[in-house]
């Protein structure tokens, strides 16, 4: 989501950046509000002027990373045309976007934090994203484009590859987002398609 920060280097923005970095390294629960404040260069209670509580920081990071992906997956799931092409286009766009984000989002989607009832909204959005992916995979199986895989497992593997890109991106700065995203999309589609040779056509017809 294109945020509407008045100044991109506001304290609020710096809190988000530093918190994302720390959440990745030490996890949400393993990161204290004191650590975040220190990284930003303010004292711990000053955080609560910008965010109601620690969880609000996490929720804003989830919004940044999840809402666009969910909308894109749902659009792809109901669009017209080849399921393989729609999945390819979606994955390529999603991974490319992830590699472009200025935040280190790994560690935000751990089970333990999403299981918290207070984050049920976000857990539901992630589940909706998974449902859209599953639908896309099932469409591809019915049309004969994909092998007759277990749709639940296939969806989990697609998500697993996505998370691996989030991790990779956090550890290796400076790669070309489109190139990395493309490698992920090709990997996933090759893993699912009955005839991976025809993948070249998808790549050529892709629209970002």
């Amino acid at each position: 989501m294109p945020r509407t920060h008045k100044t991109t280097n506001s304290t609020r923005h710096r809190i988000l950046t530093e918190a994302a970095l720390l959440f990745r390294r030490h996890g949400y629960r393993g990161t204290s509000t004191r650590q975040i404040a220190e990284a930003v260069g303010i004292k711990q209670p000053s955080l609560f002027h910008h965010f109601a509580n620690k969880q609000a920081i996490l929720e804003e990071l989830m919004a940044i990373s999840l809402e666009e992906s969910l909308a894109g997956a749902q659009r792809a799931a109901i669009a017209e045309g080849s399921a393989a092409q729609r999945l390819y286009d979606y994955v390529l766009w999603d991974l490319t976007t992830l590699h472009r984000l200025p935040f280190a989002l790994s560690g935000i989607y751990a089970h333990d934090v999403l299981e918290d009832p207070a984050l049920a909204t976000w857990s539901a959005k992630l589940e909706a994203l998974y449902a859209a992916l599953r639908s896309l995979i099932e469409q591809g199986i019915r049309s004969g484009e994909f092998r007759p895989v277990n749709p639940d497992l296939a969806q989990a593997m697609v998500a697993g590859v996505t998370f691996s890109h989030i991790d990779y991106s956090a550890e290796h700065a400076g790669g070309d987002p489109v190139e990395l995203g493309s490698e992920g999309a090709v990997f996933i589609l090759s893993g699912l398609m009955r005839d991976p040779a025809s993948l070249e056509r998808l790549v050529a017809a892709a629209r970002l």
Copy 2:
């Protein structure tokens, strides 16, 4: 690792089982020793008669899940023959083993817990496993069996698929371990091979 428990339903064993379940649901840091004790049916301080501290429980679970995988990957990386065949055999065996484990291992391999310097030994073992996988992938690229992918990213994606199987296994009981493992191995190899059509030969020649 085949554990040497005198009785498989010893309190010690029950602590491991319940802790694994709770670590998966709430994460290592999100799980208190009180919760573990309550699940087992004893009081919190009684845990410390069986394990020196909370971390020792985690380390035993890591030993169970990681040591065999590491040894298998290192064997595969230096063995003779086709890199694709060795990767296929390893992934199939590893995933099948994972799906057979009586423990819910998800949530154990989160970054935040492995970053703790006290767990450096286990972090190093995981890194060694990744190095073996990377070597196997590089061998396949050199031999022309695999597409010229980014080895670091490819290794991350293979690990991502493995983690997705750990998660899937924790949420869907009762699937056939070999069938699930096979779907994972085919997915990964299809994603890497230059000529996925020849995958049938690997599947036929596989030795578990």
